[in-house]
Each structure stands twice: as structure tokens, then as C-alpha cells.
């Protein structure tokens, strides 16, 4: 029997699978326009790996969780992240910072169970989407932007709003500011938002970063410096939601 977790995020979709013993598969793909197409696509890719969703247990999570017709159960990404991070860290007390494409969440887990969480308000400020847009404006990739930021001096980006921040960045470029400095300003702006959320929520135990940005080591480094706290993450942290989903599929 296979246990599959499918995390349809606003930007990327993640899939993880366990056999009776081990985590045997993790894959990621863009979500694209239609969550339904994505979920069909996933079905095909799982079949290529020898997993027939009709015979497996499937949990869907993420904002597109309702668009996976073959899922046996839907569970929110908040609960799934909790389970996934507990699996990855094996620590009793963790504060998860999950920077998603559309929202940012702070989740406290105690003994693998979510005990408290908050989410950012209904806008893109402080999310992965914000960083992506700013990288586009600067004409670099996300990874390049974080690397540039390491060598830059902070320029304060005053606008919270993604749309206004974009035009602010454009006028900074126009005024001849160094791209490294702008990149640093952009990264600090998002870190500031995360800091506010963390302060509001309270930090218990270690901080653990999940979401697409955890692969950007420069970003993690800047976040550590700025918060003055140790932050751990893992190459698999991006899959925390789908791993958690797959683990919970075992209970179906």
C-alpha cells in the first residue's frame, strides 16, 4: 500500500509518498492555471512511478485541496505542515515559519500537534509572490536576488502593498540605486513582515522554515541574521505539507 500527500499550493504543487516503511518519493511542479489539471497531471506522474492513486490512500492539502477528485480526505495545510515538520525534525516544540506563494503562516507544534497558528492578512505583502514579483522587476531570478542582497546595503522599501512596492522599486532603479541595495531592501521588507507576525504569535522552541524559500540558503542566512535567532530548515522542508499529508493518509 502507498500513502500519498498532495499539497496544491497557489504557486507550486508538491507530492510525497510513503510505502509501508519509507518516504520514497517527493516531487514538485508549478500549479499553473487550473488545480484540476494539475491534480490530473499528478495522477499521471504518480502512475509513471508505479503508484496507482485508485489503490493508494491519498490526502490532499493546500489551497487547491478541494480540486483533487481522487483524494480520500482533505486536510488543511496547517495541520499537514505540523505533521510534516514533526517528521522532519522529531522535536517536541517547534515554531514553523511557512512562506507560501499567497500567504505566510506561523504555526506552533507541540508533540507533533498544532497548538496555535496565525496567517497574514488577505494580501500578498510578506509572501513568496511578493519576492517573485520584485525579482522580476529587478530582472533576476529569486536565487540571484537573495545572493545580491547579501552584498547590498539596506534601502528601506516603505510600501507594504505589493503593487506600490513594485513601483517604488522601479523608481529606485530609475534613480540609479544599486541593485544589490534594492535587493537587500526587498528581502528586509519581507523579513520585517515575518518578524511582526512572529512577535505577535510568540516564539516557542526552534524556528523551522518551510515553503519554497527554504531552498534559498542566502535567504535563510539573512533571516537568521535579522531575527538574531537560529533557524533550521531542510532540503525536504519544501515538502513538509505533502509529507504531513502522506503521513495522515496512513490513518484513513
Amino acid at each position: 500500500m502507498y500513502y500519498v500527500g498532495i499539497d496544491i499550493g497557489s504557486t507550486a504543487s508538491k507530492v510525497s509518498a510513503f510505502d509501508e516503511n519509507d518516504l520514497m518519493l517527493n516531487m514538485v511542479m508549478p500549479t499553473g492555471w487550473s488545480s484540476v489539471d494539475t491534480s490530473n497531471n499528478i495522477k499521471g506522474r504518480l502512475r509513471e512511478k508505479g503508484i496507482d492513486v485508485e489503490k493508494a490512500k491519498v490526502v490532499a492539502t493546500g489551497y487547491g485541496r478541494v480540486s483533487v477528485p481522487y483524494a480520500h480526505k482533505t486536510i488543511t495545510e496547517i495541520t499537514c505542515h505540523g505533521k510534516g515538520v514533526f517528521y522532519l525534525t522529531n522535536k517536541d516544540l517547534v515554531t514553523i515559519v511557512d512562506i507560501g506563494g499567497q500567504d505566510t503562516k506561523i504555526i506552533t507544534i507541540e508533540d507533533g500537534n498544532v497548538t496555535n497558528f496565525i496567517m497574514n492578512d488577505k494580501c500578498a505583502a510578506g509572501t513568496g509572490r511578493f519576492l517573485e514579483l520584485m525579482a522580476n522587476t529587478l530582472g533576476v531570478s529569486l536565487n540571484e536576488m537573495t545572493e545580491m542582497a547579501l552584498n547590498g546595503k539596506n534601502i528601506k522599501i516603505t510600501s507594504m502593498c505589493t503593487v506600490f512596492a513594485e513601483s517604488e522599486v522601479i523608481s529606485l532603479i530609475g534613480s540609479g540605486a544599486k541593485r544589490e541595495d534594492i535587493a537587500r531592501g526587498v528581502i528586509n521588507s519581507i523579513i520585517g513582515r515575518i518578524k511582526n507576525l512572529l512577535n505577535k504569535h510568540g516564539i516557542k522552541g526552534n524556528i523551522y522554515l518551510t515553503g519554497g524559500l527554504c531552498e534559498l540558503k542566502h535567504f535563510t542566512q539573512l533571516l537568521c541574521e535579522n531575527l538574531n535567532k537560529e533557524i533550521s530548515t531542510d532540503p525536504l522542508a519544501r515538502y513538509a505539507g505533502s509529507i504531513g499529508g502522506a503521513l495522515m493518509a496512513k490513518n484513513i
Partner: protein
Amino acid sequence: MGDYREMWKNLNMDLEKHDILCEALPESFGDIYLTQKNRPDAMNYFNYTLAEIHGARIEEIKHEKDNGKKVVGTFCVFVPDEVIYATDAISVGLCSGSQFWIEDGEKVLPRNLCPLVKAFVGAKTSRTCPYFQSCDMIVGETTCDGKKKAYEIVEEYMPVHVMELPQMKREKNFVEWQDEIKIFIKRMEELTGNKVTVENLKKGIDLSNRKRRALKRLYDLRKNIPSPISGLDALLVSQVAFMDDPERFIENTNKLCDELEKRVNDLKASGKKRIMITGTPMAIPNWKLHSIVEGLDAEVVVEETCTGTRYFENEVPDEGDTIDDLVKNMAERYMNINCACFTPNEGRMDDIVKYAEEYDIDGVIYYNLSFCHTYAIEYKKVEKALKEKNIPLLNIDTDYSEEDTGQIKTRVEAFMEMI
């Protein structure tokens, strides 16, 4: 069904615009309410009042007006219905729960304002609320800055009487509220030409108390596990209470309770999570949070809101031989409503903790209409009080629009998975 266009036209309504509002209701009510399983038969009465909310009830009010009665619109549970009833006038709680009115409200008000305030101003300026159009006067109160200032704008359209509600609960504030009630009595006497007497004020007190008792009976029944009525249905009953003929409302609410009492014996444990909602009011047709919660494996069993317990808790004693005595009784009752407009407001924390025990609550959702500062700030106090009792709490800040429904759903769902 019926053709009410002539009546609406005579009320100087914007028929074209009003039609857009009418268009939305059957579908949303059908989707949210009529898809519920195993509803009590007696809810048919409340379906009826909702379906005829701009029809039969308005016709009835028009008939009363033709017979010389006055109609008074209110926005707040602090306005004493007793006085309105004593002067033989009709009291209607004005609708301000629809996104439909926001656009018109924002034409005259700043955007960063509570949706309830924007909606009631929009309802008036757009001439699409037949209750507003039927009113001879509206009665405001100073429970928040938004409403307080918005009445100045509404006053350009119709007569307004504003009651100054004290914002502390010292002895002198109780006396101040007695004075306000006396000023209101005078204004109602002028409007209706009817004198307030000990006798008719006692009748008004009795009617208001019986209405409170019927609602209290309904809420007490919700303490059963599982509740014999959905939170959505109970909310509708509370909402209808503000607009319906009070005697008929009492009769039908009691009929509903009779049916629920019978149901209680046959219900089997459902395992649904029991949720309390606390915070700001939900006016018709604001069913947003209830429908999200009850779309999951959960039931709303109590609302500590103005469209919930704050409306009916505590009766006004009818002891006394003079109008002054009765006014004092009324002031006592109203000043003991634990609204966030008061400072301090510790009574509200006590209420919430008490209800959490009485209703056997699994989790509390703090419902805050965006830009309602008093309730938003008081969240911290409630959080602290509930933490001490180890009761889980979720904060939802939202308005009437649908754009954040998906996000709220995720939060509420995660909360249910957590508790």
C-alpha cells in the same frame, strides 16, 4: 409571492437597484439555508418572514402607518424598545448586513470604516431598504465613533434622534442613561402624540421581556448535546427578531422551542465540535461565518454578540409605581449589557467564560467586523481570559465581501483540526 412594486414605488424606492438586491436573496438563502438537513418544521415560519422581508412585513407596517402608527428604526440593542412600544409605535432593527450597500456607503463615507456603518448609510442613500423608507424617525446611539458621526449624514435624509450612551459604568453613568431614556420618552411622545404612562410602559416592558424570554428559551435548548437546531437557523431567528411583529415573533419562537424540546430526546450524539462565536453583530443577510463553520464538522451553539445573547440576557423588572421607577429599572438592565464600547468591560470576559461552560464549548471564534476598534482591541482581554481556562480561540477579522472566504475557510478548518 406578490407584486409589491407599487408599494415600493410609493416608498420612494429605487426600483431598478432594489431589484438587483432582490435577485440575490432566493439563491443565497436557498444555498445556505434550504440545503441544511433535518431542519425543524417550525423554521418554515422564519423562511416565510425572510422570503417576505421586503413584502408582507412592509405591507403590514404600511397598514399600521395608515392607521396612524409611527415607525422607528434602530441600530443597536441599547435603544429601549419598551419606550417605543409604550407609545404604540413600531420598532424595526435596520438591516445593515449586506455587501450590496457598501458601494453606496463608500460614496459618502471613508473606506476604512466598519462595513455595518457603511451598509446602513448606503441602504438609506441608495433608497433600497423599504424599512428605512418606512421609518418616521431613526434612533441612533453613541456606541462607536463610526455610527455617531454617520448619523450626521443620515440626518440630511430623515429625522434622527441620537441617544448618548455613557461609556463607563460608574454610578453617575447609570443616572445619565436614565436621563437619556427620559429625553427619548419625550421625543417619542412628540413623534406619536401618545403619552407614556406607568401602565403602557409596563406593557412595553412586559412585551420586551417576553421576547427576551422566548429567545433565552431557544438558546437554552442549544445547550443540549447535540443542539436540536443549527447555528444558522438560530441566527436567523435572532435576526428576524429585530424586524418582526413582536407578538407574532414570540408565538412562533415558542412554537419552534416546543418542537425542539421534543427533538432533544431523539437526538443522538453527532460528535460535532461545539463552537461559540463572540464579537460584533451579524445583521441580515450576513450568514458568512456560520455557513463556513457549519459546512465543516461543527455546530455554532451560542453567539455572544448583539445578534445573540447581548440582545436578550436579563429582563427589566416591572416593579415600581412611577415612570421614574421604571426608567431606573430599564437603565439598570441596559447599562449591564457588556458591550466593548464600555471601559473597562470585564463583565464580557465573565460572560464568555460562563457561556463556554454552560454550552460545553470546544472552541471560540472571535468575530470582528473590520475597523471595529473597540472589539478588535478587546480581543487581547478575551484571549487572556480564555487561555486561563484552556479554551482554544481563533481570531477572524472580516467584512461582508466574499473575497476572503477561502482564506477564512482554511483558518476555521485548521482550527477545527486543532481542537
